[in-house]
């Protein structure tokens, strides 16, 4: 049980895919014009991550090494398509905003990396715990980025006006440069935080 919790927490902080491993940057940057998008993208990714990890872990002894990558890809792509279809069917508004990037979950390095590095080597419960951690780690990270960009760019948070109608909007935050710069600065802040906590741990 302890192992499962550890696997789960790992993705949330220590090996957070966005802020620590810095992978899956394309969706991270592309869809984070609003906090809500971050949640949606994050959950969609989590869904794919969890189910593909589970399946891959279940089938890990069945797949020959030489074709494991194509097989993984098929599994992942299948789940992604499923998400895409159901999102379009039941959440059309969000689906429209996420656009091209739902299909691109397939190539989100995080999923492939977890499938390869983790799911294909451990038991299903651990794979799921890890996938859930990674997925939620990804989710909170991109929601944070989305929140910052939304707040500065549109003066709202999850669509609610928090800065008052008259507040000046920083248009750049909603444009590509804003994505890069926000991500860069948040990463810098994370580095400061983790370095500090690392130092604290070392001495006690």
């Amino acid at each position: 049980m302890y192992q499962l919790v550890k696997d789960f927490l790992n993705g949330l902080w220590n090996e957070n895919p966005t802020f620590r491993m810095i992978i899956g940057m394309c969706p991270t940057l592309a869809v984070t014009t609003a906090a809500m998008n971050g949640i949606a993208m994050g959950l969609a990714t989590t869904f794919v991550l969890v189910f593909s990890s589970l399946l891959i872990s279940l089938l890990r002894n069945f797949i020959p090494a030489k074709v494991r990558i194509p097989c993984f890809i098929i599994v992942i792509a299948t789940f992604v398509t499923v998400v895409d279809l159901f999102m379009a069917a039941y959440f059309p508004a969000i689906h429209k905003i996420l656009g091209l990037f739902v299909p691109l979950i397939v190539v989100n390095c995080t999923i492939m990396a977890r499938a390869e590095a983790f799911a294909s080597k451990v038991t299903p419960p651990r794979a799921v715990a890890d996938a859930l951690g990674m997925g939620l780690g990804f989710t909170w990270a991109i929601t944070l980025i989305g929140a910052v960009r939304e707040l500065m760019g549109s003066g709202t948070l999850f669509g609610y006006h928090v800065l008052g109608e008259g507040a000046t909007h920083w248009v750049i935050m909603l444009l590509p440069p804003g994505a890069f710069i926000t991500m860069g600065i948040l990463l810098g802040i994370m580095n400061v935080i983790t370095r500090k906590s690392a130092r604290d741990i070392q001495c006690h």
Partner: protein
Amino acid sequence: MKELFFIIAGSVLVNNFVLSRFLGECPFLGVSRKLETAISMGIATTFVLTMTSVATYFIQFYILEPFGLSRFLQIVSFILVIASLVQLVEMVILKTSPALYRALGIYLPLITTNCAVLGLALLIAIKRYNLIQSIAFGIGAGLGFTLAMALMAGIREEMEFADVPEALQGAAIVLITAGLLSMAFLGFSGLIPM
């Protein structure tokens, strides 16, 4: 002719894959440390993108659409074909020209899981380009990627001498620099009707 030029120039400057479409960020951040490497990676990617544009064109318009499978088999079939194609090319290059392999081939596997490739395929399907347009789009996307890689690598090489604050070293400063670069590229917006 003019239209093809617009497609290429548009995807290099106006809607640069890396700097404004957010496709292919991972290699952009990872493999832009040295100019030579970045350009090799760019060329290899351009090659794959061009190949992909042809392959996906045929799959989309000769298999998926005629059979009405486009809505749900698109992703799977594209990614499968791309992955296999890349692997095939890699093997062929490795066997036939080890020198070329060392220069370009080693980048190929990295490209499979690069959003730019799948993104290109999906965009071709969305924009409903014809074969020639698709190829032009593939080349343009590749060149745009290469350009962004090369610029970033040049800046990063120069940054070896810069005294970047510790917290920002690594990916953070690269991201911010990419942000400034993409800000400069905003100057091209509205340039070519896309």
